[in-house]
């Protein structure tokens, strides 16, 4: 199974431990794609829209997959999702919610705002690796990305 390496994954996650373990899980799952980490919601939007410290970035290079945590500093995850869906440049990007909570309200709001998938991070790290593998396989290999605008 060949996974295209040029496909960028945007990981929006403020917890450095989670970032480290997620990156480890990607690694363990043999996913070699470039992973851009945004530490909060504002950072993520700046990256996507070429603003702030990403001013001048070629926004035509968009991530193939966005992994979005909900509980984020500055701009919360659901607001980030809303703005992604509100902007012409980003509204078609696949967004997978990757978070700790399974609060019903979060699930409903996420799907309403246009999340493509909702994944709860298991505490058992082995299970987490398994989940990341499945995720990568599906979104980076099986799934056909939306056409570039």
């Amino acid at each position: 199974m060949e996974i295209a390496k040029d496909k960028i994954i945007l990981l929006v996650e403020d917890n450095s431990d989670d970032v480290a373990l997620t990156l480890r899980a990607f690694r363990k799952s043999n996913l070699k794609n470039e992973i851009v980490v945004a530490e909060d919601g504002a950072d993520a939007l700046d990256y996507l829209l070429g603003e702030g410290k990403y001013t001048g970035r070629d926004t035509s290079i968009a991530p193939t997959l966005i992994l979005l945590d909900l509980k984020l500093p500055k701009i919360p995850g659901l607001e980030v999702l809303r703005r992604i869906r509100a902007d012409e440049r980003t509204k078609l990007l696949p967004v997978v919610i990757l978070t700790s909570s399974v609060e019903e309200q979060d699930l409903i709001t996420s799907y309403k705002l246009g999340a493509n998938s909702y994944l709860r991070k298991p505490v058992d790290f082995n299970k987490f690796i398994e989940a990341v593998q499945q995720l990568g396989l599906y979104w980076l290999v099986l799934n056909e990305s939306p056409p570039r605008s």
């Binding site: 917890n15 431990d17 700790s100 909570s101 609060e103 790290f125 987490f128």
Partner: protein
């Protein structure tokens, strides 16, 4: 032959003088001639027969000498006026008795032969006596009936009033004429009119039977009277020929003090007299002579009559009388035979003629049969009427509901009716007897009183009083009147007695009830003022007066105008409002009054119309109740509710804040507590993977224990969140098939537990009202426990079923035959994180039953358990 009264005589009568002399001399009437001084100048032979005096004794005497003193003045007057005509006077017989005479005077002072007044008279004593008796009887009955408080009415078959006693005016205000113009039912209320109509028809069907009824009669002034009516159909009784109705006012006991009504001159019409008609015939009944009065009596001129056959127009019924009289006269020449017959006049009407027929065929100068007749039609008619009236009156007398009793001046009972006897029987138990002394018939205790009373009655006084019989206790209204002759002499006394016990009792009950009502009103906590249509005060109760004193500083006065009693500034509004109520509006309002002590009094005021039975507005009723306490209470309640609302708002806000806090707490628990656990687990794994080869087996085991505990911690957090969610979630009940839900849950649990050796029995058709999501969580936990704790049994058996308990409550239960538990720990069973078993043998966080209990509690139900160690467990719940 220049006397116009004499007409051409038949040929054989040649000597006028002789003819008339014979006529006069043989007449049964007495004839006098008086000169201008009133002295008697001629006396016919009949005079001696009539009065007993010889012609000599009378000749030359003044005529007035022989008259009754009462008739002298009128006679002198007639002489002076020279009035021709017929008169009735009393003439003294030689034996000293006065004899009633009918006198015809003809003043002929200018006649060359007579030159005086011709007085022609006949004895009418007998007739006078009969008339007098008739009149007396009639007067007695009439006096009794018209003094009666009853109304007596005669109706014909169609219901028209033929006669009604004058008492109608006294009782109902209408004159007799007014009442007689319409059918009597027109004066009744509409509903009673129908009843009266039926009663009348009933009376027509049953002659002689008394139909008693009660009707409301409209008085001329508009008020309603209750009348008791007793109708008897006497249409077939000769002389009465009517329905006789006896009507009594039972509206209230009337004041018996009313004087006897003035006697009506009902029989004013006395017999009127006409001048004599003299007819002479020969033996073959051919006319010889006819006097000029033929014109005034039968309407023919003498000439016309000369061509006719005398008495040819006699009424067929009277022919026999005439024949008999003629035969009698033929047999006894010279004797005047009395005769009454009906004779047809020129207009074709029959006239009653009375007189004599005398056979004077053998008297040479006359040689004729002489008829001496006069027109008595009016008298006969009057007599017939009087006789009829007497019959009617005596029938009233007998059937009257009042008692009548007449006594003469010697206290002797002259007559009485059935009722009188009945009322006396009540006290004495024996019949009255005509002729006995009334005082002996009365109870001894009353004897003296009545003797005194009657003495006064004989002295022309009248009495009316109520009296109670000492033995029977019945009440009577007694009217005691003198009975007078026409001349005004008291000849006796008349008792009219009516039983008024009913009225008395009704009156007593009424006054008692009135007193009760007054007491109630005066003790009522509502003030009442009654006004008439002009807003004058009719009546008020004690409280109304108290309020008036309080507010207006003065008492209410009956008769004062209520509006003017009020403060001036309120008067225009009050006037407008009350007028509106009179016109049909309703008025109800609250008003307040500030007392001198600064406390405000509140009143609830209501103004209503008062209507009479015919729904005519007759005034207003103002009622006012003191509602100060209610007002204060209302204000207090209003304050309380404002405070309460404020409190509820505050509490709601606090609760909302608390809820928000709880939500954000669980949110943060759910996110933030798990992240460190993931790190613990993840890094332990990283250590094992990257450095496992460098670690001792014990170190690796420790790392695994860290991972295991981090997972347990994560489970605890998840369960805690579930518990909190059960509490927060909104309950929405609907019909749930518990059997179906349980089967689905068991299916889910098959993935978790090996169930191939477990007997699971679930009753089918267990349906109830519950929240589908929450009840599933509860059943999941209960069944999960049951399976878990019976897993080690030899033959695991799980039952989910239900029953109805003694309180008619549906109870569901889940049982297993597993390890059970010691009942002494039952209290800890439903606490969060309470475990009764080893977590390695029976994994779980200990939150399951807590969740179940919350679900059951949120449904308003209860949950409890029975178990024993190794004896299985039973969990019961209601919803």
């Amino acid at each position: 032959m220049d006397n116009p009264n004499k007409f051409l005589l038949p040929e054989q009568i040649t000597n006028d003088e002789q003819f008339f002399r014979a006529l006069v001399m043989h007449s049964s009437d007495g004839v006098h001639v008086l000169n201008e001084e009133g002295l008697i100048t001629f006396v016919s032979p009949a005079c001696e027969k009539l009065l007993g005096y010889t012609p000599e004794e009378m000749s030359g005497r003044p005529a007035t000498e022989f008259l009754h003193p009462n008739d002298v003045a009128s006679t002198l007057d007639i002489l002076k006026q020279r009035t021709n005509g017929t008169f009735e006077i009393r003439v003294r017989h030689k034996n000293g008795n006065y004899v009633w005479m009918e006198v015809v005077r003809n003043f002929n002072f200018n006649h060359p032969l007579i030159q005086g007044a011709v007085v022609n008279y006949r004895d009418i004593s007998e007739r006078k006596l009969a008339e007098e008796n008739l009149r007396k009887n009639e007067a007695l009955f009439r006096s009794m009936i018209e003094n009666s408080n009853d109304i007596i009415m005669r109706q014909d078959r169609q219901g028209n009033v033929k006669y009604i006693t004058p008492s109608i005016t006294k009782i109902a205000g209408y004159t007799q004429e007014e009442f007689s113009t319409q059918l009597p039912i027109a004066f009744l209320t509409e509903e009673d009119a129908q009843k009266a109509n039926q009663d009348f028809k009933q009376a027509l069907k049953k002659p002689g039977e008394t139909i008693t009824s009660l009707y409301r009669l409209r008085h001329k002034n508009g008020s309603l009277l209750w009348m008791e009516s007793k109708a008897v159909n006497l249409l077939n009784v000769p002389g009465v020929e009517s329905v006789v109705v006896n009507i009594r006012d039972v509206t209230q006991t009337r004041d018996g003090d009313e004087k006897l009504r003035k006697q009506e001159d009902f029989y004013k019409a006395l017999i009127e007299h006409s001048e004599d008609l003299t007819i002479m015939t020969d033996a073959e009944n051919r006319l010889i002579y006819c006097s000029p009065s033929i014109l005034r009596t039968l309407g023919y001129t003498a000439t016309e009559y000369a061509g006719m056959h005398p008495l040819q127009d006699t009424h067929p019924d009277d022919m026999e009388i005439v024949q008999t009289a003629m035969q009698q006269a033929a047999k006894t020449p010279g004797v005047a035979v009395q005769l009454v017959l009906r004779q047809k006049n020129k207009d074709g009407h029959f006239l009653w003629m009375e007189g004599t027929v005398t056979n004077l065929l053998n008297t040479p100068a006359v040689a004729a049969i002489v008829y001496n007749l006069r027109d008595v039609t009016d008298r006969i008619a009057a007599e017939l009427k009087a006789r009829k009236s007497e019959t009617i009156l005596s029938s009233f007398f007998g059937s009257s509901t009042e008692a009548f009793l007449l006594v003469d001046r010697n206290y002797r009972i002259m007559t009485f009716n059935t009722k009188a006897n009945q009322y006396t029987l009540n006290s004495e138990n024996r019949s009255l007897v005509v002729g006995e002394n009334i005082l002996d018939a009365l109870p001894p205790s009353r004897k003296e009183d009545y003797a005194n009373l009657l003495a006064k009655v004989f002295n022309n006084e009248s009495f009316s009083f109520d009296s109670q019989a000492t033995d029977t206790g019945l009440w009577y209204h007694v009217v005691l009147n003198p009975v007078r002759t026409e001349m005004g002499t008291v000849i006796g006394a008349c008792f009219i007695i009516s039983d008024i016990t009913q009225q008395k009792l009704a009156q007593e009950a009424l006054s008692k009830s009135e007193a009760n009502l007054r007491t109630i009103l005066n003790n009522a906590d509502t003030a009442y003022v009654l006004l008439n249509n002009n807003f004058d005060i009719l009546s008020f109760n004690q409280l109304a007066n108290d309020y008036a004193l309080l507010d207006l500083g003065k008492s209410l006065v009956e008769g004062d105008n209520f509006i003017q009693t009020l403060w001036k500034k309120w008067q225009p509004t009050a006037f407008t409002n009350m007028n509106k109520v009179l016109e049909g509006d309703t008025a109800e309002y609250e008003s307040s009054y500030l007392q001198a002590n600064g406390e405000r009094l509140w009143f609830h005021v209501r103004i209503n119309r008062i209507m009479d039975e015919r729904e005519k507005v007759i005034g207003l009723c103002i009622s006012a109740s003191n509602i100060t306490e209610r007002k204060l209470a209302e204000n207090q309640i209003r304050e309380f509710s404002v405070q309460l609302e404020q409190k509820v708002k505050e509490r709601t806000y606090e609760l909302e804040v608390a809820n928000k806090e709880l939500e954000s707490f669980s949110y943060s628990v759910s996110h933030d507590l798990r992240a460190p656990l993931r790190s613990l687990n993840g890094y332990s794994q990283a250590l094992l993977e990257d450095y496992g080869s460098k670690l001792e087996e014990r170190a690796q085991h420790y790392l695994k224990r860290i991972q295991l505990n981090s997972e347990r911690m994560a489970n605890l957090i998840d369960d805690l969140l579930k518990l909190s969610r059960v509490t927060r979630q909104v309950l929405s009940k609907q019909e749930i098939n518990l059997s179906k839900v349980a089967r689905e849950v068991v299916k889910e649990l098959e993935e978790k537990y090996p169930l191939e050796y477990t007997n699971v029995h679930i009753d089918s058709g267990m349906i109830t009202q519950a929240d589908p999501h929450l009840i599933r969580i509860a059943l999941h936990n209960l069944l999960d426990n049951a399976i878990k704790f019976s897993a080690k049994a030899e033959q695991p058996e799980i039952i989910f079923s239900s029953f109805v308990d003694e309180n008619n409550r549906k109870v569901w239960f889940v049982t297993d035959n597993g390890v059970g538990f010691d009942m002494q720990y039952a209290g800890k069973l439903f606490g969060a994180f309470q475990r009764l078993h080893d977590k390695d043998d029976y994994p779980g966080t200990g939150i399951g039953l807590s969740i179940v209990q919350r679900v059951i509690n949120r449904h308003g139900g209860k949950i409890w358990a029975e178990a024993s160690v190794n004896g299985g467990a039973k969990f019961f719940f209601t919803l």
